[in-house]
Chain length 339, copies 2
């Protein structure tokens, strides 16, 4: 268990020379981007970790990154953002300082102070659902990347889910399975911090409409419902859809909780999933999606990938100006048994 | 927003003099435990954070704690352990370094090396479900507290859920609601790292039996099922219980996922919760428990409390020997609408 990964093993894994590995480790400029990526991937895969002491003494850098979140507790799957951030940080011999403000602005500001005292080299600010944010005071001059959120004026780099993509591909999956009337129980949220349009709500709706359009299917307003996400509302919307003169044969749900309630409402109506009606969720909350019978086909929020992207962007721009890129990552289909 | 909390405000909140607050902040010995606790609570409540620089220069301590987990991703609600740990660390002007090994032993060892390089003052090692663990190499001499896990030889302080308490109080809740025949769909787990008895499985079963005994109810072997936790198995066990000559009128489920499938199986049998049959879960996974209709009565795993306890114990024993206390925290009932 105390066997150490050697540079030779990394070179073999990456398909490059040990000289190249050594150059990457020392941030030598004469390495192609392709090779650098392969070596960094091999370092990540093998969990290689060189002695940091020399590096930090040499570079004078702290090797620390701050990770500030507003609230992990209420949306636990979003913690994959932290995992993704950690994994990239680790591959670059850096460590994350993590602070969860629980939505408390004073705590967030104090955390920024602490991060500064510890000389972090950059900060990832992550929201637990996709929305515009206001940054805490005191970040000026600290390289910052936003994950799962953005500034209204788009002045800071950000990575977020491509909601349009998710809505499009969920709908397309139903169409490809032969469905022509597809109900959509969309989210509805109230959050005084956010002025509409909510990216998830409107982005997915645009995707739904475009997918219908691309397949020359009519958009029917009555098939789209907005649920405030209580179990009872989710039931009610499912029942209302199925009571239509021409009910849908597939229902796209704005999240997996809605899908869970949709399943129950359909069962009470004596309808079987997917034989009588298909259901697609969103979020891929595995406790729910894999726990339901039949297992739920749903869309993956790219939490892990957002965490990775944010730290990679910080590291790629160490000591350089960061363009305020606004990146949207896909929400891929996780096909299970409900379509 | 840049208003700072003053020592005077802390004193007012704690109901002590500013001198006492100052003494607590400086670890002065002449403060009663009661006052110290009140001041620390006020510091936590007000999110007070004094300048650390002076303190760390004076004490020569790093102000860092390491938090090492085996896998947050698969049991997201366990992240509340991190939140609890953070909140106590914060109240003592300390910061958490977080590393998630994803169950990779080599990563865990490397994380310990990093924590040492950063001169952490102690480590919390947290497992994501309650089980015996083996510690990574290299921890010798570093103050360590285990959360949600323990060493077989009980040589390191640990805090874990009181599974017996959970099983007892879940069963008692059903009995108090008038039930006399209570089915129990217990967990069954296979994990090559753990030799039985699994604390959750056997602890809760003991609690279930003791609660029946205390109320002079007979234990019926046929009412207890062990589920490997697939949706289909959970269905099958529910159906089998309800097909008994004398079926139960309440079902205690080993976790909320089992309860979710139990609900569906009961709905298919035309049975209503709780009018026809009561259901109690375990874990309080709020996505499920609050998402089900009716909302699920379940038992709370003390994740947040375990994180708090672990860091508090480390801090209380700074520079002193830690007794290998083995603490079990209660899993309280969260009463909703299913009993």
């Amino acid at each position: 268990m105390d066997r150490k990964v050697t540079i030779r093993e990394i070179a073999r894994q990456a398909g490059v020379s040990t000289t190249t590995v050594s150059r990457v480790l020392n941030d030598h400029p004469y390495v192609s981007d392709g090779k650098r990526r392969r070596v960094e991937q091999a370092i990540a895969d093998l969990r290689y970790r060189p002695s940091q002491t020399a590096r930090h003494l040499r570079g004078g850098s702290s090797g620390l990154l701050g990770f500030l979140t507003d609230d992990v507790a209420t949306t636990p799957y979003a913690v994959d953002i932290i995992r993704g951030a950690q994994d990239v940080a680790w591959a670059h011999r850096m460590v994350l300082l993590v602070a969860d403000s629980g939505g408390d602005a004073r705590f967030a500001e104090a955390a920024v102070d602490v991060f500064r005292e510890r000389a972090v080299e950059g900060i990832v600010y992550a929201a637990m659902y996709h929305r515009p944010v206001q940054l805490p005071e005191g970040l000026n001059g600290l390289p910052t990347v936003l994950a799962n959120c953005f500034l209204e004026d788009r002045s800071v780099p950000s990575v977020a889910p491509d909601e349009f993509y998710g809505g499009y591909h969920a709908t397309e999956a139903a169409i490809k399975a032969g469905h022509r009337r597809i109900g959509f129980i969309n989210l509805w949220e109230e959050d005084e911090r956010v002025t509409p349009p909510f990216p998830a709500i409107y982005g997915r709706l645009r995707g739904y409409r475009r997918a219908l359009e691309d397949q020359r299917l009519d958009f029917d307003d009555a098939l789209v419902r907005f649920s405030i996400q209580t179990a009872r509302e989710n039931y009610r919307h499912t029942q209302a859809l199925m009571a239509m003169p021409q009910p849908p044969t597939a229902i796209f749900c704005g999240n997996d909780k809605i899908a869970m309630n949709c399943y129950s409402a359909l069962a009470e109506l004596g309808l079987r999933v997917p034989a009588d009606i298909a259901v697609i969720g969103f979020d891929n909350i595995t406790h729910i999606a894999e726990g339901l019978l039949p297992k739920l086909t749903t869309m993956q929020l790219p939490h892990y990938e957002m965490g990775k992207w944010a730290v990679q962007y910080l590291i790629d721009h160490r000591g350089r100006t960061m363009e305020p890129l606004q990146v949207a990552l896909p929400c891929p289909l996780v096909a299970r048994d409900s379509v």
